[in-house]
Symmetry: C2
Subunit: 298 residues, 2 copies
DNA sequence: CTGAAAGCGCTTACAG
DNA sequence: CTGAAAGCGCTTACAG
């Protein structure tokens, strides 16, 4: 027909119908492989419903996050998936609610503020890691990575603590080390750990990246074999690591799909409800925890 | 003022001005850490100019890529940054040109078809890796990862070959192994390598992910110390790897910024030209190549 | 059932 | 210099 250059203008259509098929996604860091995998699931589920995503990065800065959300609103996005920046204020959520913009929080929620949410059960994740290490007979523990403001970190630590308590371990057998949740943070935290009089027998990390960094620090000191390490997220490289990294799998791609589904529902029939989809993580036992001869697989 | 709920409608403005501040980005795989880092640079340079990006994934499928580009056009994007899917046809580029849509190809170009392009000098990357390994005295070489359709792979191999030739090595000292350009592909290729009568002395990989997979295969066979390995891209985990991975750094974030700059230029003043920005890669010498005692740093 | 008109929310060119 | 009107490209409700 007029396929000599005609292209349908969705913008015009959106203006008329007052609906768009674009969804805004605010992540803290696109380069984080965990988010990368999550976005894969999110985008493909969105695409199946004929939606696109506009993804922006807040650099974990609440002020920037505010600007980005406002800008996304100007784009008339149909909804918002947000991994809230650390320190997001109560008024941030209130603003979202007041605007009646469908939204779902991802992997991080706002303290004491009910909102639609998709994420892993971090308390359980922490417990799973600790219980396995307990079974290995470890007596001293460290949790490495993340900062005290991070809710996911707090929950994981709570899970670890509860498992240790149940096993009758004294609280002073457990230390927390803060650091950025990536390789660089882990490396630096590992160095700090090495300066202490004694290495913990077990280290549970906030992410696999942190575990990678911790290992590098340990290796340089020639002490990698003295500790058992468990990572978090089960990113693709975890299974290839030496030793193959035992990790708490959160299945980011599945989380991403769930986010899309919940958001799409919220867009189709705004409930104003606060549905939560919490997924149970799974401990991928490999060798860094001290287990041996586990067959390799991805 | 009327900040009681008013939000500016960019869609309406775009309709009127016939200009948008949205740019389409087509990648083959969002989860690939190389692309993740590239997107960081791309998005931040775009943001500085007041632009946003709509990123979509083609899964390296040319048909899907076509659909996505058409859809992006319907969104009236101001321009397109494309990492073309393997096997993208000549008519794909012709269609782009006919539509007068500003575009730039990223990290992969179309065989014999001049177009605006940003990417690393892959021939040089291959040479750099081979020359270093040659200096280590290696006599047999393998290039692992990617498929024969990939131009970047072909160029890197050409670079490797030219260096080996100059060093007087016979062509039969060099083999090519195809595999997916990620960890899973490297693992599988590594296993194939182990089945051959003899391991090459040096392995150059299409990506760091491939190198990680190769190492896992080698380790399981207890033969990791027999070969020297060099990765490609210098992804963040490369420096943390055991042994710290020597890698050809392509500085993806810098590439991303360059893409944004070129595209923004093309949007501001459509030249119809075919500017190319080729960046020289840099060999990050660490220990997997056989060097020792290189101080750790990210 | 078909076709012309109105209107979504902006910007820009034009009249007063 | 200010204010009202036209129009971007669609869709939808309405008149014929």
């Amino acid at each position: 027909m007029r396929e000599l250059g005609y292209v349908y203008n969705r913008g015009a259509a959106s203006l008329r119908t007052r609906r768009t098929t674009t969804v805004g996604v605010v992540v803290t860091d696109i380069a984080n492989p965990f988010f990368g995998e999550l976005l894969v699931g999110l985008e493909s589920a969105l695409a199946e419903a004929g939606f696109r995503s506009l993804v922006v990065a807040s650099s974990d800065n609440p002020v920037r996050q505010d600007e980005l959300v406002n800008e996304l609103r100007e784009y008339q996005v149909a909804g918002l998936a947000i991994m809230p920046a650390t320190g997001s204020s109560r008024s941030f959520l209130e603003g979202l609610e007041a605007s009646r913009m469908p939204h779902v929080f991802v992997t991080k929620y706002l303290e004491g503020m009910p909102a639609p949410y998709v994420g892993p059960d971090d308390r359980l994740g922490g417990r799973l890691a600790a219980q396995h290490l307990l079974a290995h007979g470890c007596q001293t523990y460290a949790f490495v990575g993340g900062f005290s403001g991070h809710l996911s970190r707090r929950d994981r630590i709570e899970g670890v603590r509860s498992a240790l308590r149940e096993a009758g371990l004294e609280p002073d057998r457990f230390t927390e080390i803060e650091s950025a949740s990536n390789g660089a943070g882990g490396l630096e935290a590992g160095k700090r750990l090495l300066q202490a009089r004694q290495l913990p027998e077990a280290i549970i990390c906030q992410s696999d990246g942190v575990a990678f960094g911790v290992y590098r620090a340990l290796r340089e000191a020639g002490r990698a074999s003295e500790v058992r390490v468990i990572g978090y997220d089960d990113v693709r490289t975890a299974a290839l690591w030496e030793p193959p990294l035992t990790s708490v799998a959160t299945h980011p791609e599945r989380l991403g799909r769930a986010v899309a589904e919940l958001l799409l529902e919220e867009i189709a029939t705004p409930s104003g409800g606060v549905t939560e989809k919490i997924f149970a993580p799974e401990l991928m036992v490999r060798e860094s925890c001290g287990c041996h001869g586990v067959p390799s697989s991805l």
